[in-house]
Amino acid sequence: MVSSQPKYELMQEVGRGSYGVVYEAVVKRTGARVAVKKIRCHSPENVELALREFWALSSIQSQHPNVIHLEECILQRDQLAQRMNHGSSSPLYLELVETSLKGEITFDPCCAYYLWFIMDFCDGGDMNAYLLSRKPSRKTNTSFMLQLGSALAFLHRNQIIHRDLKPDNILISQACTPAGSSEPTLKVADFGLSKVCSTSGLNPEEPAGVNKCFLSTACGTDFYMAPEVWEGHYTAKADIFALGVIIWAMVERITFVDVETQKELLGSYVQQGSEIVPLGEALLENPKMELLIPARKKSMNSHMKQLIREMLSANPQERPDACELELRLVRIACRELDWDT
């Protein structure tokens, strides 16, 4: 009998995020490792985040090697569990849609309502942990840069704005290193704040309305936020800015320590006196501010310098789009390869 044997076995907790717990699990039949993310649907905010993530992950039809892949989603209410498709007409799913539409929990708050996402397991931790536990390597940096550029171009082509790109949300899979490469595979994850633009007819370049009350609680990763995001405007170009902060920090190994968590994080910033200020915040106050790129001499070539400068423009329109970005990153990588050989 099929049902007598559980499909997955949870092995251990690997992370605890703002709205869920992530476990490492094994597919019993094949022995493959998967990540299982459990989201508790007990408040309107959690339901909203879970449904957003579900929509974004489901709408990526063609799989991209650098975007986390959703194997399946299971919706559980007390002892009832169902495999769920995005837009399902199951009463269990409708309850969540109704909660999101009404902005209040529409079911009995005592019942255990969970969404379980079964996704790729990334054995290398996140980008912070991976890079900061190793010596800086130009080869790794170049590989990561290319993978990130490719992932973002893919997402924007599919009308998905991530809205929360940061090294914590970029995972490393050493297991699925492509043949002939020594560098691991990156996977962009955590789509809880993402926006899918396709149905509203929105182009990712057009401003997408950001629910202000939502932003105020859910977002806090201010070091990667573009200046316009501080004011509540959001376009796909804000993802480009965030990637600019990440790539600049990666190439020059710029880090800061978050006081609350004592965790060292990759991220570039502006120094004002003894304080460090997120780039977006500083640019909001002074859009004409000249960024010191590179921070150390000779740490990058002139093309890279120019590209990062453009990605971090205060004006979103001066930033390259994801397609152009991908192309330019490839060109820069090819040049570096020429130098190396």
């Binding site: 559980p6 949870l10 703002s18 717990v21 699990a25 209040e104 806090g220 460090i276």
Partner: protein
């Protein structure tokens, strides 16, 4: 170079930022809620055979039971119940957050100071004109004036299609008895606002039926105009820019106004009882209230609320 991050001058709720290694902060944020939440409701879910100690409460919470082989064969289990392995009890047992069940009274008690969360962007609500009634009445939609559901309601008054993400859903809607009579009456003596936690596109469809000519409600506020606190949307009367001594709220969920409880007239939640007369009964009260000095009336209400909150 390792720099220490400075303290942010503008205080923003930063749940995601601290999420990486945030057990302590997170607990500080939530502990009061939890400690009061250890209520009988959780206990009632426990298998009656298990001893009522705290360890068993963790082990036998509903979620764990789902993942635990069921020895009680009479419990209804879906065929999918065996999706996850059974060896995970220890893993899941430590999830203390499985215990908190939303309770409006506790929510109000634990609400952070208003100054601790970001202020809403001000919406330009036009000031009152000379012809606008002096008193303001802010009304909720769902379960106060009407009830809607994605599940079929037999004999629904209206149905409409609501868009959510890339799908459309059929919504069934029924109106609370005497709603039109009530709105007609109060619209004459109050400047009417509708303020709902529902999404704009959804609420607008409902208002198309309640106020098709846009003559009853002068202003409409939706989810975008709410603040999200502790995971729940709340409403903020200060964005109305009206004299709060002349403003009353009619809402079936007073916890959505944690900062303006004394302005709130709670009304029984309605989900379809055809004999309900709450709105009709309120008409004379609302008429009398509009003519009175609110501050006196509101003070009495405030005392009443404080009594309620001090009872545990």
């Amino acid at each position: 170079p390792i720099k220490t991050r400075r303290f942010l001058p503008r205080r923003r709720a930063r749940r995601r930022a601290i999420a990486v290694d945030d057990r302590e902060t997170d607990l500080a944020f939530k502990t009061p809620v939890r400690s009061i939440m250890h209520s009988e409701r959780i206990l009632s879910e426990i298998d009656s055979l298990s001893p009522p100690n705290s360890a068993s409460r963790n082990t036998y919470s509903p979620i764990v039971r789902f993942l635990t082989p069921s020895k009680e064969s009479d419990v209804l289990m879906s065929p999918e119940q065996g999706i996850f392995g059974y060896d995970s009890i220890d893993l899941l047992a430590g999830n203390e957050d499985d215990d908190d069940v939303f309770n409006p009274i506790v929510f109000i008690k634990n609400i952070p100071l208003q100054s601790q969360h970001s202020r809403l962007r001000l919406r330009d609500i036009p000031p009152k004109t000379r012809s606008t009634p002096e008193a303001t009445l802010v009304i909720d939609l769902e379960e106060t004036l009407m009830f809607s559901s994605l599940n079929v309601i037999e004999d629904a008054d209206y149905t409409f299609r609501a868009a959510f993400q890339d799908h459309h859903y059929k919504v069934y809607m029924i109106l609370r008895p005497h709603v039109k009579e009530f709105l007609q009456a109060v619209a004459k003596i109050y400047e009417l606002f509708v303020y709902t936690c529902a999404k704009k596109e959804y609420a607008e469809k409902i208002l198309d039926f309640l106020d098709p000519q846009r003559k009853l409600f002068r202003h409409r506020l939706y989810q975008d105009n709410c603040v999200c606190v502790l995971g729940h949307y709340i409403k903020d009367l200060s964005i109305l820019e009206r004299d709060l001594a002349k403003t009353v709220v009619l809402d079936n969920a007073p916890h959505t106004y944690p900062y303006h409880l004394m302005n709130t007239i709670p009304i029984k939640s309605w989900s379809g009882e055809s004999t309900d007369r709450e709105l009709q009964k309120l008409i004379p009260y609302m008429e009398k209230l509009s003519a009175e000095d609110f501050r006196e009336v509101l003070k009495k209400r405030k005392d009443h609320f404080h009594r309620l909150l001090s009872e545990d």
